[in-house]
Symmetry: C2
Subunit: 322 residues, 2 copies
């Protein structure tokens, strides 16, 4: 896993992924006490950065392997990213989801061209279903974060951040990344190391689900005590990845943890000042920039808004904080 | 008023205005029955395309004139665009607003560096106040649309649309523009004439407030019967501008008129599929693309989402249509 893989991924996704801008608002700067720059990956295809990793992985497969199709386990942003990337490559995708996944997510994933296979979490094994389908059809598994070509794809977001930061003359800034398994955080950290080495990636997580922050602090992989019970569901994973953790350990600053209320307020500020839609997990880094300024260094701070796939009721809840 | 003025404005605003992308979603394509491309000017500085015109006008002033400051009459997007453009030029701005303007708009305009002067619509004349302040201080009036350098600034949005459409190979498409006084519509039409002459600008307006559509249909300037009573307040003006109307008459296709319910649904779809915040007036063109497909020609349609300055209660109302 190295910067050359990220640059190769950037070449492959050019013209296919969106080149998202860096946004800012003087009102957010005033809250944060420094200049805040927002990388809105909610504007990416399928509404999250996950399309980058999905497209990178699909485009890196040998044509005859890719032609047999791919498979992913996800009920969320990774599912949609892989489904669209497969469709754009003219191949098929199977997305394995728990049968209790929201109907809207199932329908959206199907609409993007995927075959959705539902399983009963109480009685069936996801991995067994995946193994059987893969064996029968020769499908390639696209893992959500612990996969080099997926990390490389997410790293393209970091190349863009580095390019824009250099153009703006931003030298001394933390780059806060909404962090689940660490694919985006590790990819961004590698890109910054190469192209903007004075900037420092730092993971942002929900309070109580800060496995990456605790793992970084202790030097060994720590698990989350629970995997549900927080609105930032998109960035809650059991533990940092085996591939992503060593990268984060080598390159990242300490993690930041934000409350649900801070996340909802960050979503509301993104609505009011940036005119973008952030999902709870996608607003964790912005919440850290706005409300944890004393834990951040530098005159500027750069944050990812990593996704915008939020249902209207949750969004309305965020707006009520204004 | 010609294309050279738009190109000169583009040179002046480069690096100051945001270069907004073209967004799309397969879900919107399915509703519209053709490919839909969205130019999200809600992501522009101050949340609307008005910043382009404001910056263009400020940057076109002679330095000694500009140094005395500018004045504008507006309680909306033009006010914020002019205020920020003035601040970015290191000069002062006076924004004259009715005293019943929403407190949030007054505060936002002040926060962008403007001096806000309130007047009582029942007892005071806006123009008299403006004339007096201009005479006392040597302020230059920046009109919201019937001003060549403002039209030139809005036209830069059209240059970007033309550039992206050409890169995408889009040859046969209507370009629907949310239309009030016609500054954006005329500017976009001129830009398309020069750089993408097979594309056709068409104004989109609220039903019952379609002065531009009626003016185009009859060949003479028609007035709106009322100036309030519709959620698309940002694009309701008394009549087409004296400068903008001849340009629209020469270059634009017929106007489209959309209902309030269609506008709210378009805002909800922009939330759900594009992750952007559209204000009602900013969603008129998208509403036309999604729900008036039988009045549109071409395999593709391009729409401006011209602004995103909407209060949370109105946005929540839009989300309820989902």
């Amino acid at each position: 896993m190295n910067i050359d893989m990220i640059r190769a991924a950037a070449t492959r996704i050019e013209g296919h992924a969106r080149r998202t801008p860096l946004l800012s608002s003087p009102f957010l700067d005033a809250i944060a006490g420094r200049r805040v720059w927002i990388k809105p990956e909610c504007l990416q295809h399928t509404g999250s950065f996950k399309f980058r990793g999905g497209y990178s992985a699909l485009s890196a497969l040998a044509p005859d392997v890719r032609a047999k199709g791919v498979i992913a386990f996800s009920s969320g942003n990774h599912a949609q990213g892989v489904a669209l990337a497969a469709a754009m490559h003219g191949t098929s995708s199977v997305i394995v989801m728990p049968s209790e996944a929201p109907q809207l997510k199932i329908e959206n994933t199907r609409a993007l061209g995927a075959e959705v296979v539902l399983y009963d979490r109480a009685t069936e094994s996801r991995d067994e279903i995946g193994d059987r389908l893969s064996a029968e059809r020769g499908l390639t598994l696209i893992k959500p974060y612990d996969e080099p070509q997926v990390i490389a794809g997410q790293g393209t977001c970091g190349l863009e951040i580095a390019q824009d930061a250099n153009a703006l003359g931003i030298k001394n800034a933390d780059v806060l990344v909404c962090c689940g398994g660490g694919g985006l955080t590790a990819g961004v950290a590698l890109a910054l190391e190469a192209d903007a080495p004075t900037l420092r990636a730092r993971p942002a997580e929900p309070q109580g689900f800060d496995d990456v922050a605790r793992s970084l602090a202790s030097g060994t992989i720590k698990r989350n005590a629970a995997l549900s019970g927080n609105i930032c569901d998109a960035i809650i994973t059991p533990q940092p990845g085996d591939l992503t953790f060593p990268i984060m350990q080598r390159l990242c600053g300490s993690g930041l943890a934000v409350s649900e209320q801070e996340v909802l307020r960050a979503m509301a500020h993104a609505f009011l000042r940036l005119k973008i839609v952030a999902e709870p997990g996608g607003a964790a880094a912005l919440a850290a920039a706005l409300f944890h300024g004393d834990e951040i260094e530098g005159d500027d701070v750069i944050v990812t808004v990593s996704g915008g796939n939020v249902d209207p009721a949750m969004f309305a809840r965020a707006l009520e904080t204004l």
